[in-house]
């Protein structure tokens, strides 16, 4: 059972709870179990474009080191997992992609 520590924005899914013990052999299975317990939290943890990767801008630290295999990072029985902001960022309004332009396209 890994111990998970959540950053403050993520605590809105847990009723303010900052840490909890959650089972999981990998970060992905841990996130699955977190989602079962706290519905909606996975949407803030998992990259919507790639279910094997963390949300861009979010970092996971496993046993003191960055989770360099993303959600596939293996966990030990007593691992400690921190989800923390990896970068400063902010978002772009609307959440929807802006219309793209080809910029003149390719040669030929």
């Amino acid at each position: 059972m890994a111990t998970v520590f959540l950053s403050i924005p993520l605590r809105r899914y847990t009723g303010g709870e900052a840490s909890m013990d959650v089972p999981g052999a990998t970060l992905r299975s841990l996130v699955r179990n977190l989602e079962e317990r706290y519905p909606g939290i996975a949407a803030s943890l998992v990259n919507p474009e790639d279910a094997d990767r963390l949300m861009p801008g979010l970092g996971a630290i496993v046993d003191g080191e960055p989770a360099n295999m993303g959600l596939l990072t293996p966990l030990e029985e007593r691992s400690e997992v921190h989800f923390i902001p990896a970068i400063a960022g902010g978002a772009i309004a609307g959440g929807a992609p802006v219309p793209e332009r080809d910029g003149g396209g390719r040669c030929g």
Partner: protein, 769 residues
């Protein structure tokens, strides 16, 4: 120079020695090819028209006259650039939103920093291109520039990006310049402060400072008729440039080949895209390869320095001087687009200490100046100026020796870093003890013969360092010399340190391993040269490749000896048949037999390694002399101790300690952007942007501490960045010791020193900025 280790080290033959660098001759003779040295058949030259306003709507850009001018091949504006959807791309020390990365390289309708590219031309030579820029007509509608934290954060602030939605503790906030507000919290700081014997709170202001690399940015691109793009550029991140170029130009990733040139310094400032996409689009329009080289003014105006900002730090201690709580509010100015390393600042600000109750708020704020970039331990020197200055003043308040305070409260194995993770085995205490045992620490400060004021300051610092992905390919030549192909541009002697780790496995002299940095089509993926990762992570790829080579050669000599590979040992560069010990081949002899035993041996080590084992700590000691009549500060003596885990090439390690200390001293004493109220930098040249030279500094003594990193087979830690973290507070604490008044703002230049001395005479405490 000296080395200190906390236990007997592994036995090494190559690692720990000081061979001449492989690229030394080329660099000494001027043969090394830097960005501006690129010459291609049919090459033409680009120039960029930059916004004279820090904030303006671009109502019209007309390049028709420029395009028609003699000798001009092409002209482009924002309309020629693809519009990119917002998407985050992780480049390790920087995470880039592609829409903003695209807008940063060429304005799309609005200029948001002075120097923002508005148009570009390509012509037969650079003078023609520069003249053509004068023919471009641009109609601007100037807007109020936002260039300070106060203006950016006030409730009725002018908003720089209408489409920016801030993330404030998880709440989505539109119409703001605060891109992000984060908070880290453990325990109950307020309750602990209430119980503390002493509490001190101070606010510190840190100027933005440029990396100051000698080589300006230079990029050449050729967009060939078959839609393959080749880019020669001075970058720390060739694979990052490849992926960003592909995304910004909306072309397949594998159609972009990036050739990293030699790099004349980067320090984090050569990670992102600048002119590469502009050169590529000009090339597509002209059909020629196009080179664009920045002048120094453009480097200052339009590339990323480290962020400036303001840090309020508070610390409480019990009656014995033990820390009971600490809080901080970090506000960094990211420049024109979000992203100012506030997470690294949060990790680093109190990392040297055991802090049982902590809260750290951090704000990432956009302003109308060029987007900041990573700068050596991004975000951490600024935050540490606050925390280590506060600790020094707190020690003064409670009458405790700073070294005693540091050792009493020092983070060690098992300590929880204030942002959460628990430290493994680290060298924090060992670095302080190295300073404590140094000749410098034991020496007397002495009196100035001419009435100047002397003082001594101490500070510690931390940087985590990264691991991640690296690929190295090793091939064995018939003569037993090994070629090593890697993909990390060499900014700190990493060709040699990577080659030395392979040589250690082979038992060969370092110069029998020939390293080459190649383009993105010629080696497997490599994360960038940054984050103190290259010697640590790419070194492990080299070790992995070398071990595979040894195993393959064991099979080959087993074939010759008609035995099983398991019966072949390899030690001290000799293969030996364990069953028939008389059968031996040196590595070089075995290399000559590869052709007849199955052909060439070439192996690739491809790794994704964990972080740098708790990072690298440093402790710095600084003596200064202050002239009370002019405010000039002279560094008299400086010692930097830092944990290298295992120093692969001690001379390069010492060089990193010295270089980081020199940059940190410059940040402390002189470096800043003098900016007019409308956002124009007034000192955009090396004449006026005052970096320290050899004439300004004493010899910086380096003490290499070696507390092995268990994440690396040889114990190596990444060491390139920590050395810039302690200097500003070490210098500031020394100044305070000398003049009896605290400095709360960088740079601590003569005018501020004089102001502080005047405040002291008037009964005020220090310079409040």
């Amino acid at each position: 120079m000296s080395t200190t280790a906390d236990r007997p080290a592994q036995e090494f033959k190559v690692v720990g020695s000081r061979p001449v660098r492989h690229d030394g001759v080329d660099k000494v003779l001027g043969r090394a090819q830097y960005g501006a040295d690129v010459k291609l058949s049919g090459l033409i030259h680009g120039a960029v028209l930059r916004s004279p306003y820090a904030h303006a709507v671009i109502k019209k850009v007309d390049v028709s006259r420029a395009e028609a001018a003699p000798g001009v091949f092409a002209a482009i504006t924002g309309n020629d650039m693809p519009v990119t959807a917002p998407r985050l791309v992780d480049m390790m020390e920087e995470v880039t939103n592609l829409k903003w990365a695209s807008e940063r390289v060429m304005a799309h309708g609005k200029a948001v920093y002075r120097g923002h590219p508005v148009a570009a031309v390509a012509a037969v030579d650079q003078n023609t291109a520069l003249e053509a820029l004068k023919l471009i007509e641009v109609e601007y509608e100037p807007l109020e520039a936002v260039i300070s934290l106060e203006d950016a954060m006030k409730p009725d602030a002018v908003i720089i990006h209408d489409d920016l939605v801030g993330d404030h503790l998880g709440e989505k906030v539109p119409h703001t310049n605060i891109a992000e507000h984060t908070r880290t919290e453990f325990g109950d700081p307020e309750a602990a402060f209430a119980e503390a014997a002493h509490v001190l709170e101070r606010t510190y202001t840190i100027a933005r400072a440029h990396q100051g690399y000698i080589e300006p940015h230079s990029s050449t691109a050729f967009w060939s008729p078959d839609d393959k793009i080749s880019v020669w550029t001075t970058t720390q991140a060739p694979f990052g440039v490849r992926s960003s170029m592909a995304a910004v130009l909306k072309v397949p990733l594998s159609d972009v080949r990036v050739v990293p040139t030699e790099i004349g310094g980067g320090f984090g400032g050569k990670i992102g895209l600048y002119m590469e996409p502009l050169a590529a689009v000009l090339s597509r329009k002209s059909g020629r390869p196009v080179k664009i080289t920045m002048d120094r003014k453009s480097v200052f105006d339009a590339t990323g320095p480290g962020p400036g900002g303001q840090v309020t730090a508070k610390m409480g201690v019990d009656k014995d001087g033990k820390i009971v709580a600490a809080t901080a509010t970090i506000r960094y100015m990211a420049g024109a687009y979000p992203g100012s390393s506030i997470s690294a600042a949060t990790a680093g600000i109190f990392a040297c200490y055991k802090v049982p109750n902590v809260r750290i708020d951090a704000y990432d704020v956009v302003i109308n100046m060029s987007k900041t970039a990573a700068y050596r331990a991004p975000g951490t020197p600024q935050a540490t100026f606050a925390s280590e200055s506060l600790v020094s003043e707190l020690c003064e308040t409670i009458g405790m020796d700073p070294m005693e305070f540091h050792l009493l409260n020092a983070a060690e194995e098992g300590t929880r870093r204030p942002d959460g993770p628990v430290f493994p085995r680290i060298g924090n205490v060992a670095c302080m003890e190295a300073i404590h045992n140094s000749d410098h620490f034991k020496s007397e400060l002495g009196e100035s013969p001419d009435g100047k004021l002397r003082g001594r300051g101490f500070a510690s610092g931390y940087w985590n360092g990264g691991g991640n992905r690296s690929s190295v390919t090793i091939s064995v030549n018939d003569d037993g010399v090994v070629s090593l192909v890697e993909g990390n541009p060499d900014i700190g002697g990493t060709r040699t340190t990577i080659a030395m780790q392979a040589a250690e496995v082979f038992g060969l002299p370092a110069h029998d391993v020939h390293p080459t940095v190649v383009d993105t089509d010629s080696v497997g993926y490599n994360d960038l040269t940054a984050g103190s990762r290259t010697t640590y992570a790419s070194g492990q790829a080299a070790i992995e490749a070398a071990r595979q080579v040894v195993e393959e050669i064991k099979k080959r000599v087993a074939m010759i000896w008609e035995t099983e590979p398991e019966n072949v040992s390899f030690e001290d560069s000799v293969f030996q048949n364990k069953v028939a010990p008389d059968q031996r081949f040196t590595f070089k002899e075995a290399a000559g037999k590869l052709g007849q035993t199955g052909g060439p041996v070439s192996k690739t080590g491809a790794v994704n390694v964990r972080g740098s084992g708790g990072g690298s700590f440093a402790a710095h000691l600084c003596d200064v002399e202050v002239d009370p009549e002019t405010g000039k500060v002279q560094i008299l003596r400086y010692t930097a101790a830092q944990d290298a885990g295992k120093a692969v090439h001690p001379s390069y390690v010492e060089g990193q300690f010295q270089g980081g200390a020199a940059q940190g001293i410059g940040w402390a004493l002189n470096e800043e952007y003098y900016t007019s109220p409308d956002g124009v930098m007034q000192n955009a040249s090396f004449l006026d942007y005052r970096m320290p030279t050899a004439l300004d500094l004493p010899m910086i003594d380096a003490i290499v501490v070696e507390v092995p990193n268990t994440n690396h087979p040889f114990g190596v830690r990444g060491i390139g960045e920590t050395s810039i973290v302690p200097p500003a507070p070490a210098v500031g604490n020394a100044i305070a010791d000398a003049i009896g008044v605290r400095m709360y703002q960088t740079p601590m230049n003569p005018s501020r020193i004089m102001e502080a001395l005047a405040n002291k005479r008037n009964g005020k405490n220090g310079h409040q900025g």
